[in-house]
């Protein structure tokens, strides 16, 4: 089974990279972009039956730095509680 981990900066944490992307979009003439936040996507190939709790532990212990980042787990197939 696969899971996708979306890692995003917490609201209020300054995102200089997002700002630079925003600026570049404006430079290319794209109007109407109010804000840009950049994050990460990590795809995991997991053994069938891996529990949500285990994936959450992976996020807390390594994949995200919860001081500055939030994470969201999306199971793509074989969801199991």
């Amino acid at each position: 089974m696969k899971a996708r981990i979306f890692i995003t900066l917490k609201p209020g944490v300054l995102d200089p990279q997002g700002k630079a992307i925003h600026h570049a979009l404006e430079g290319l003439g794209f109007g109407g972009v109010n804000d840009v936040r950049a994050g990460k996507l990590i795809e995991l190939e997991l053994a069938d039956g891996t529990e949500d709790k285990a994936i959450e532990d992976m996020c807390r212990k390594l994949l995200a730095n919860t001081v500055i980042e939030n994470f969201r787990i999306e199971r793509l197939e074989g969801a199991q509680q």
Binding site: L14, P16, K61, V67, I68
Partner: protein
Amino acid sequence: MKTAVIVFPGSNCDRDLAVALEQVTGRKPAMVWHRETELPEGIDFIGVPGGFSYGDYLRSGAMAARSPVMGAVRDAAARGVPAIGICNGFQVLTEAGLLPGALMRNAGLRFICRQVPLRVENSQSLFTSQYEAGERVTFPVAHHDGNYQADAGTLERLEGEGRVAFRYLDACNGSSNDIAGILNDAGNVLGLMPHPERVVEPAHGGTDGRRLFEGLLETVGV
């Protein structure tokens, strides 16, 4: 004073730190590879050096903070053994939870490599006893991710408890409150982005960093 320098794949200031420690203490530090699970017996001081451990993969310092040797570093720090994390070492110590907050991409997005003026904010710590409070010193910085961020409560605590050891005098990277270096709760762990080990002899173009190591030697003893 028996010292140890931790070496990760991608560390590149480990030798600079070792030379500085040897000059000041008269003894060669033990160089401890990241896969070790124990530190040499009777270590009085641990240095976590600068560099680009694990190529800065995932987040700067994230992989190094989870490497086997960090368990031993954590245990030693909990026993009160003084430890310093310089540059990538600071990132590693925050990722390992030994220091609060996080080091993010510089606000200007550029890698900064130059001399920066700093103010010594706390001259009472293990590391800064040879400096005057409020003294201006110049250390080099060389980093891409030196933008110190922590939540408002943490910043308030750091400021209120005198745990900001060094502050930038020119806002070079966007750090909250211009924080360049902080102490842990117990005062035996210091993390800072600037490099004191690169200014320990006149040939380096400055000697402002030398007193940090001399102060340690004095407080920790031989």
